[in-house]
Subunit: 238 residues, 2 copies
DNA sequence: CGTAAATTTGAATGGATTCAAACGTGGTGG
DNA sequence: CCACCACGTTTGAATCCATTCAAATTTACG
């Protein structure tokens, strides 16, 4: 119901071209032969979401999963009392909504941070490919495991220690994502929700780390020039 | 190297008997025919660990995973600075060390809380059964997903809000595990490490909840008679 | 029964939160 | 083009909750 006729959907960027995909070796179909992919990609769409755009919402079930091609996605989960928390961040190559494979409703709401490009892959494609390619099953397991690793990281690194330690660990993590050593400047509210601290506390910690030379901000509003040694020292100074 | 000759290992309780297993419908082999299991169980051991016993340790790689038959296991992860945190608890039917399927080293240290009985399943058994039974693959995915759910729960419910809220949520969770409405009285240190609060804070919060009638303690040192309505109200009183 | 370990309780400290206000910035409309 | 508003960020100050250190108490166990 979300999907309109192709040309009227502002998010639609085109049919996917898995065979020539620039990040193919990083995604789910890494181990599949090109011949198999041609059949699949007729139903795989390439979508672009703007900042704050919702890829899917908690409780929906669409029988679709998404591969992140570009940008950063936050997975948000709500507490019964209305408070909500960012559970983890998804980067290029990660999968959003993997629980759809099991027929389950989405467990989180997935929101684009900045501009995000994703591939929308129906579960039916996975199921069809799965039959003949055990490698895909293995890839799925790898993805599940790395989601689990990230979840554990969120708990151990981002939810333990003082506010400054947590922010330092987050910056170390983010700065290691891209290859150019820069990373988007997250909203203070998102930082707080991810680290389990108040927005103001996140702002204070960021200001303090910048003042101490832990990082700088580039023209495009990105963070750069991280002093990883300094940040690492702060991150472990319990 | 940990495994001694069968009869000299004090943990060894016998060969597994999957076909007649009392919790078979709750474990990994739920969907497999009995005929297949007979071949497998010759290498599946039934082990019993005492309180504090280590099923495996972080960094080891044994090509073995474990099914929890009885008791509670805590998965512990250490921070670089030496501090350690309980990442999540495993209950009857859960799998410990599922990452071994991917050939990875164990990501946590698994410690028995109270007496714990587990089945020790070599990965080779999984791989052999996997070939002919897609249902097992599906079961594995289900397990991975539920581990992920539990990890998210640890973050959202156990690592958010005031100390009292967290303890109330933990008690609600624990009291829902067994069918008799009782649960083991966790060590205050474990509660603290699981909820990200100090041991003393955990003790104070438990005392306060007991004083308010949130639960009582039975003869066996277990907790019982939970006032789930009261606990739920406390858990959501942000 | 006696020692070690865990739990509980107390009091002081400190860090994070909260409430408020000031500041900067981007966008809209006059 | 500028005024103005909305929104996010930053900063300040008071409060509160959790931590920390310490000691008392209970429990577990040889």
């Amino acid at each position: 119901m979300k999907r309109k006729a192709v040309c009227t959907d502002p998010k639609w960027a085109g049919r996917a071209d898995c065979v020539h995909c620039a990040i193919r070796q990083r995604v789910l179909f890494a181990d599949l032969p090109a011949s198999e992919l041609n059949d699949a990609l007729i139903v795989i769409d390439d979508l672009v979401y703007g900042p704050g755009g919702a890829i899917y919402r908690s409780g929906e079930s669409e029988a679709v999963l998404y591969t992140v091609r570009r940008g950063l996605i936050k997975l948000v989960r709500s507490l019964p009392d209305g408070e909500q928390r960012v559970v983890r961040l998804l980067k290029t190559g990660d999968i959003a909504g993997i629980e759809a494979i099991l027929g389950a409703a989405y467990k989180h709401t997935a929101i684009a941070i900045g501009e995000v490009e994703v591939c929308r892959i129906p579960i039916s494609v996975i199921e069809r490919l799965e039959l003949h390619h055990p490698a895909l099953v293995h890839q799925l397991m790898v993805r599940w495991q790395s989601a689990l690793d990230e979840a554990d990281r969120a708990l151990v690194e981002f939810s333990t220690g003082s506010a400054e330690e947590r922010v330092a660990r987050l910056l170390l993590h983010l700065s290691a994502l891209g290859r150019d050593g820069s990373c988007p400047d997250l909203a203070r509210q998102d930082i707080g929700s991810l680290l389990g601290i108040a927005t103001e506390t996140a702002s204070r910690a960021m200001a303090e780390l910048r003042r101490r030379g832990g990082f700088q901000e580039s023209a495009g509003g990105n963070l750069c020039n991280f002093d990883r040694i300094l940040l690492a020292r702060i991150a472990e100074s319990s």
